[in-house]
Amino acid sequence: MVVRDARALVNGPAIGPVGWGLVILPVALLVGALCVALAAWAAWFVAADRAVVLRQLWGGAVVEAVLVVQGVIAAAVLATKDHDVDAALFWGYVVVQLIVLPIAAAWAFAERTRWSSVVLLVAALTTGFLEYRLWQIWGVS
């Protein structure tokens, strides 16, 4: 594409999947680990027949904070480097991933039975899975 070629002239050669992955790998691993940790916490509460507590919502907020940082890094890389990432698809996943946990957490917190924790568990796993999909979209060159 014309625009892409022009950008390549300005910004140097396109970064391949490896270079792209090195930028984003630590963030993706961190998000994945945090999601698994939050899911495990929720699963423990399911087993203990307890509802979501406020401290778990703070845990979700930590995940959200990392997601925002990830979005900023991704925006910076997409803006400055030539790439073959489908931007519409990528940002679609970013937005969906950002809103799943807050909405689900609010929905879960209003329920005061064990099902509350099941909702948080599902939301955390979904956020982690969306991170995996984002990773796939990043990797495609």
Binding site: D49, R50, A51, V53, A88, L89, G92, Y93, V95, V96, I99, V100, I103, A104, W107, A108, E111, R112, T113, R114, W115, S116, V118, V119, V122, A123, T126
Partner: protein, 152 residues
């Protein structure tokens, strides 16, 4: 408003989880539909518009189940059931007309068959919460807080 028999709210208890899964699917299907319609509608207009339609159905079903709008919930869950069965069958039988581009293609294989299982769970849940045996009502009156763990 005269209610003949009290019905359990569709959005609490196990319904919390049902609504959550519906909500996630609503997000996934709608985001996918918007992306497809916005970027490549001319490639397969029927499939992509169907994709967007499925997203709208899931959104309505989610809202209906969450806010205890039973009639809307019945209609949307039934539409969803018909959708996944018809589109699923068409996608398997006739590949040309329906490429694998909607949530319902291949009976929801791309989404862990959740789109196939969900409408059955939705109908079961609507049926179970909608009817209450007389002795069940009496039992519920005596023990009102059955199983509701209160954890702050």
């Amino acid at each position: 408003m005269t209610k003949v028999a009290p019905t359990r709210p569709t959005g609490s208890g196990p319904g919390r989880l049902l609504v959550a899964v519906y909500g996630i699917l609503a997000l996934a299907a709608t985001a996918r539909g918007i992306y497809q319609v916005a970027t490549k509608l001319s490639d397969a207009p029927v499939a992509y518009l169907l994709s967007l339609f499925s997203g709208v159905v899931y959104i309505l079903a989610t809202i209906a189940l969450a806010t205890d709008r039973r009639r809307l919930a019945w209609v949307t869950v039934l539409v969803e059931l018909v959708g996944v069965l018809v589109v699923g069958t068409l996608s398997v039988v006739d590949v040309g007309e329906f490429p694998d581009e909607t949530v319902w293609s291949g009976f929801g294989a791309g989404y862990g068959y959740i789109p196939l299982v969900l409408p059955f769970l939705g109908l079961l849940w609507l049926w179970r919460t909608g009817r209450r045996a007389p002795d069940d009502v009496a039992a519920a009156d005596s023990t009102d807080d059955d199983g509701a763990a209160t954890v702050g």
